[in-house]
């Protein structure tokens, strides 16, 4: 094979040019020569000239004047010229050029040439740049070659057919029978081409897919031959026999077995064999194993096989080769493999030390958290929190909170986890965390002692993390008596004196690191302690009065008010500062840890970030029981979407904004309907449809008796799948003779479009010194058409 000397000389000349300008000069001169020589009719060095032009083209210079020369060279009888001509056609001509049509005839002639290398040139060029018309023209020729030629040509014809089918889908019908026959060949090249062709036919035509299912036994047979055969020097790659063919067959099996029991059964044994016998020490083995796993997870495989596949995936995650780890992690996040996430999560612990992007690792682990692996996953997540890049900390903390709320195995664990996050990344947590955590703490009454001790210790160590300090101050204020009592069931007892506690709170108050709201917490806590401690009340009094002249207006106001509480209203101090009642979350809440005694229904389709957790507020619990259900199962509401990763919904009105996401439709006002009328107290209901599944109800109460009514409250309960949010009432007293009304808004979300929406209302009030409580059921909502 003599290299083209003129070509090499030119290349040398170009490379020796020292500047871009010089190079351009050399190239321009060469191109001029080439152009002149193209114009001459017959020329010895035609192929050299074209090759030179192709080199220049590769450097990025224009070479379109060579297109016609390519066409001429292809038609030449000399093989050397044909070869370069076809190469030029593939590089310079594409289907968008008109000149490409001119070579159709040459290709047709060459396809019929007696020499297989000439045929091969034509086939290759057609498969590379054949336009739709060329393909239509030459398809019958290709089909003929598919059936009756040697294997060298058959394999090329098969791939040419693939290109034709991609360009003109209808021609698939033409090649289907020939493709089937090719599977009986022994030659690997032909088999590979056949498998690719069948794959292409199945992918573009579902009817073909049905027909080709019959080939599954043949494919299984071929594959078995590859897997269990001995060493074949021709096709061996690191001990695997023809991995390229194996992977293609596996991919075709995947397509054929998808959603089809019979086909999946037929390939079950084979897949198990490949999965167990393939050597996974080299990349090539792993390539085959990976394809096998993808196939197993995509067809209707037996559970044993699925377990095997998932275990392989798990091993991949531990592999030293970072390529495999990356490929598998990407796959897990996006594909059907996520249904086996419980098992995969066992391997995640080693995952974080690997150099995959930390955000990917975080996404992955949050997606894989479940009730069964929450403890181990949380350990990993917490250690990740301490070592992750700062920009990810907020996201991690939010993810941890959501995961903890959803799957906390016990309340103590939940509180511990949150405390851990606050101590490690307190500065990065969102603002809603503080009220959420406070609410969580008040709800777990048996752990008050434990919690306050832990918080005290944390506060003692570090008063810089604002959310932690706020929660700690609040708890110390509330449960200071438990703290001072010293004994605690869950921890070793520690003696804390009143002075110690006050020292800590004063430190918070005085620290320049404390934000104004934190100081507010600390001041209030100090004040609350005045009823929980016995000896140092004077100290508290002096602290409080100092802040009466604080520059911060909010603090000053509080301090002055507290001072007044000491002086003028001392008799009320105990009542004002007593232990707070359990905060009810009148909004989308969440099921707390101890209700996970029952099985958690996993919502597979929804990622943790989008989950909208729910909770039964304690007061409403028994009402729900009346409606015939236990705790509502963990639900997510896809309709609500998500803009914030943390659940929005603190005690009070903030949660209402969530449901406003449903808004957009103009509400239509309807006449109010009376739902309760007894003993002079009436409650009317009017509702407006806010959106497809959202309903806003206004309850109006009035009192027509002669005496005032105090402490009027309404509570509501709805069927399980409906979400309820009660906004704050306008007041709680109904003056006599209808002098004023109390209104309360209730917003319902009915994503499952429950028909016959019902609501139970409990009305409680105090009238003339006696408490009255009544329940009524609302069966129809005006304007809803139920």
């Amino acid at each position: 094979m003599s290299p083209s000397v003129p070509l090499q000389e030119m290349i040398r000349a170009i490379r020796s040019a020292r500047t871009q300008c010089e190079e351009r000069g050399v190239i321009q001169r060469e191109c001029a020569t080439i152009r002149a020589q193209f114009r001459q009719a017959d020329n010895e060095g035609r192929s050299h000239n074209l090759a030179k032009l192709l080199y220049v083209h590769m450097l990025g210079y224009p070479a379109h004047f060579g297109q016609m020369e390519c066409v001429r060279m292809i038609a030449s009888p000399r093989y050397s010229e044909k070869r370069v001509g076809y190469l030029g056609a593939m590089m310079l001509l594409d289907e968008k050029q008109d000149a490409s049509l001119l070579i159709t005839n040459s290709i047709k002639n060459d396809l019929a040439n007696s020499n297989q290398y000439v045929q091969s040139l034509a086939l290759c060029t057609l498969a590379c740049m054949g336009s739709a018309e060329m393909c239509r023209d030459l398809a019958p020729e290709i089909n003929r070659l598919l059936r009756a030629s040697n294997s060298y040509i058959k394999k090329k014809a098969a791939l040419c057919a693939v290109h034709i089918v991609r360009k003109v889908q209808d021609l698939g019908e033409l090649f289907a029978p020939s493709a089937r026959c090719l599977l009986t060949e022994k030659n690997h090249g032909v088999l590979h081409g056949a498998v690719v062709l069948i794959t292409e036919l199945c992918e573009c035509n579902p009817e073909s897919l049905e027909r080709f299912r019959k080939t599954v036994p043949d494919l299984v047979q071929i594959m078995k031959g590859l897997v269990i055969s001995g060493y074949s020097p021709d096709h061996d790659v690191a001990g695997i026999s023809d991995p390229f063919l194996q992977v293609r067959i596996l991919r075709l099996l995947r397509i054929l077995g998808h959603n089809n029991e019979a086909a999946s059964d037929a390939m079950n044994d084979l897949l198990a064999q490949v999965a167990t016998n393939t050597d996974s020490t080299k990349t090539v083995g792993n390539a085959v194993l990976y394809e096998t796993v993808l196939t197993v997870l995509d067809i209707k495989s037996e559970s044993g096989l699925r377990v095997l596949a998932v275990n392989i995936l798990g091993r991949f995650l531990l592999n030293n080769d970072r390529n495999i780890r990356l490929v598998v992690s990407q796959n897990i996040l996006t594909s059907a493999a996520t249904t086996q996430k419980q098992r995969i999560s066992l391997c995640i612990q080693l995952y974080f030390s690997f150099p995959i992007p930390p955000s990917r690792a975080l996404e992955l682990s949050l997606a894989l958290v479940s009730a069964s692996n929450i403890r181990s996953m949380m350990k990993e997540l917490l250690s990740f929190l301490s070592s992750c890049p700062p920009e990810l900390r907020s996201q991690t903390a939010s993810g941890i909170f959501i995961a903890a709320e959803r799957y906390a195995p016990s309340q103590r664990w939940h509180i511990d986890t949150i405390l851990h996050v606050l101590t490690t990344a307190g500065g990065d947590v969102r603002d809603e965390t503080v009220p959420n955590l406070i609410q969580l703490i008040t709800n777990t009454s048996e752990l008050h002692c434990y919690t306050v001790h832990k918080l005290y210790r944390a506060l003692h160590n570090d008063i810089s993390q604002q959310p932690l300090v706020q929660v700690a101050c609040w708890c110390i204020g509330e449960y200071g008596d438990l703290l001072l009592r010293g004994e605690c069931q869950e921890m070793e007892p520690v003696q804390v004196t009143e002075d110690d506690v006050l020292d800590v709170l004063e430190a918070v108050l005085q620290s320049h690191m404390s934000s104004p709201s934190t100081r507010g917490f600390a001041l209030t806590a100090t004040m609350k302690l005045s009823t929980r401690i016995t000896e140092n009340v004077d100290r508290i009094r002096s602290i409080v009065s100092i802040y009466g002249s604080c520059i911060d207006v909010e603090l000053q106001q509080r301090a002055v008010e507290y001072n007044a509480l000491f002086k003028k209203y001392d008799h009320m101090r105990a009542a004002v500062l007593e232990r707070m009642p359990v905060i009810e979350k009148n909004s989308q809440g969440h099921t707390n840890g101890d209700s996970t005694g029952e099985t958690i229904k996993e919502n597979l389709a929804v990622k943790v970030k989008q989950a909208e957790p729910q909770q039964a507020a304690n007061q409403v619990c028994d009402l729900l029981d009346l409606l015939g259900g236990s705790e509502p199962p963990l639900q997510s509401s896809p309709a609500l979407g998500s803009t914030a990763p943390l659940p929005v919904g603190t005690a009070g009105t903030a949660g209402g904004d969530l449901l406003d996401l449903l808004g957009g439709l103009e509400p239509t006002a309807i006449m109010p309907v009376s739902v309760y009328d007894k003993d002079g107290v009436t409650v009317t209901l009017s509702c407006e449809k806010q959106s497809d599944s959202g309903l806003s109800i206004t309850l109006t109460a009035s009192n027509s008796t002669d005496s005032d009514i105090r402490g009027f409250t309404l509570q509501a309960a709805v069927p399980k799948s409906v979400q309820l949010h009660m906004k704050a009432p306008s007041g709680d007293s109904l003056p006599a003779r209808g002098a004023a009304k109390v209104t309360q808004m209730v917003v319902l979300n009915n994503p499952n479009k429950v028909v016959n929406l019902k609501m139970r209302l409990r009305i409680s009030y105090t009238s003339q010194g006696s408490a009255v409580q009544d329940t009524v059921q609302v069966d129809s909502f005006p304007g809803l058409g139920h």
């Binding site: 003599s2 192709l54 590769m58 190469l87 020499n115 091969s120 086939l123 791939l159 390229f244 390539a287």
Partner: protein, 157 residues
């Protein structure tokens, strides 16, 4: 497969094979993007990249980067093997192939590629058969005319 590019560490293109039809301007842009992306990668990072809707698999052999773009449903680990197979074929043909071989004999590199891949798929999985085909084609090139009796062949490999 969508395209295969070979370029040097300075970003000079040594071979380009496009398996789908694209305008010249698009090709130039892709080449620029690929060279920038791949050359910016650190030494010990993964061989896989995501670019638009394609997966890019690249591997460095001595002073040349081999960059292959595949569609999302294809097996990347196998793509690495494809690159390696091509390098082996070049090595067998040129004998200890180096970048200069590919520069000065670029048309041969293309011929070898065209015996190994076709239309974006693998054509022949056996190294020996590819090598024998190339040798036979080269022999044919020495002869002046293609219908000369001494080069007629019937049975293929």
């Amino acid at each position: 497969m969508r395209f295969l590019l070979l370029f040097s560490r300075q970003g000079k293109l040594r071979l380009q094979k496009w398996f789908t039809s694209m305008s010249d301007r698009e090709k130039k842009k892709i080449i620029r993007d690929m060279t920038t992306m791949v050359l910016a990668r650190q030494a010990r990072s993964c061989n896989f990249l995501q670019w638009k809707d394609l997966k890019i698999i690249y591997k460095r052999y001595a002073s040349l980067y081999f960059c292959l773009a595949v569609e999302s449903q294809e097996n990347e680990l196998l793509a690495l093997e494809i690159i390696h197979r091509y390098v082996e074929l070049l090595d067998k043909y040129f004998g200890n192939v180096c970048e200069l071989d590919i520069i000065f004999n670029f048309e041969k590199a293309y011929f070898i590629l065209d015996e190994f891949l076709m239309g974006g798929e693998i054509q022949e999985t056996s190294k020996q058969i590819v090598n024998r085909s190339i040798e036979a084609s080269d022999m044919l090139q020495e002869v002046r005319f293609t219908d000369s009796p001494c080069v007629r062949r019937e049975a293929g490999f």
